[in-house]
Amino acid sequence: MLMQHGAESALVESVTRRLGLALGVRSVEVAIMANALTVTTLSENHCITTVRRNEDRGINMHMVTEVQRAALAVEAGELDCAGFRERIEAITPQRYPRWLVALMIGLSCACFARLAGADWLSCLLTFGAGTLAMMARQWFAARHFNPLVTFFAAAFVATSYAGQGVIYKIGSTPKIAMASCVLLLVPGFPMINSVSDMVKGYINTGLSRGMMAVLLGAATSAGIILAMTVWNVWGWL
């Protein structure tokens, strides 16, 4: 459950172990793989092992927080096994409205452009491109496309839009706009999780998350290169 929503390995292991001990079993061993979780519990001289598959459900910190709070409540003795199950099943992933997310991401990209030294007109261009790209990303994600396809398409949309700025000479720094508008596609969370997993000794999950981040980046740059070829604007190198 935690893994599906993008928590790091050390957190998954420690929450599972503490939850098990709080519910009264003698010991809990957890083996974490990239897309499955093996949990063995030892209670009253019986070993119970389950393997749970985890699918990637997108990053949702709200879920991570709620699951952890429920586990803490068990540890404090406020909840028993049945109560915990009830509480976990009652959690529904909270999502922010899509238009709000898209607008905020557009604004974020405009801020990145400004930080990189673009003028206001280019920031406006970046805002449009970022918003449009985020909407494209949500559209593809809602139809359950592979994330690689989603990132490819979103990068193509963003670069095509910002590329018009270079063609029609909008603003004095359209190239910064082209570079900033795809920053919403940087897989920052997998990158950081990957390194911190590896620092804490979970080389396996760290490597697979890192590889996923690089692949998403490769898909994005393929989208950028395609858009630059189609419109014949070369803004990056």
């Binding site: 974020s108 801020c111 990145f112 969370f189 999780n193 390194v195």
Partner: protein
Amino acid sequence: MNTVFQLLQNMLFAAVPAVGFGLVFNVPRDALIYCAAGGAIGRGLRFLLVTSGMPIELATFLAASVVSFLGVYIAQRMRAHPKVFTVAAMIPMIPGVPFFTALIAVGEIQRHGLTPDLFATAITSGLRATFIVAALAVGLALPGLLFYRRKPVV
């Protein structure tokens, strides 16, 4: 005066992306304000350190660890894992442009053949991106590595 203005501008423009990406990561509503604060503090601190002549990797590392220590303090009051909001606060410091520049340069090498310029771009941007991300992640993990070695943060 100019530096102060630039610092404020940096902090303001870093707080917005931190919140924006907080929305993408579905950070709980009451933690969004900490994303903004963390983003502003991290980016502002890094800006100060870089302008005073420190290499960017080291500055990133220090800024990330300061945000992480603040995050631990807030997390204990909120009863939530600090990563919930500190990672969103790191987003304004992620080296997105070098990351994509490296990958695009690799694509260009494939299309046009190897030139020293393209090769140099690919290697330097790739290394820069890798080192800054490593600095961010290790900086974030620092409280766990130094003080919470045998006990959980929350």
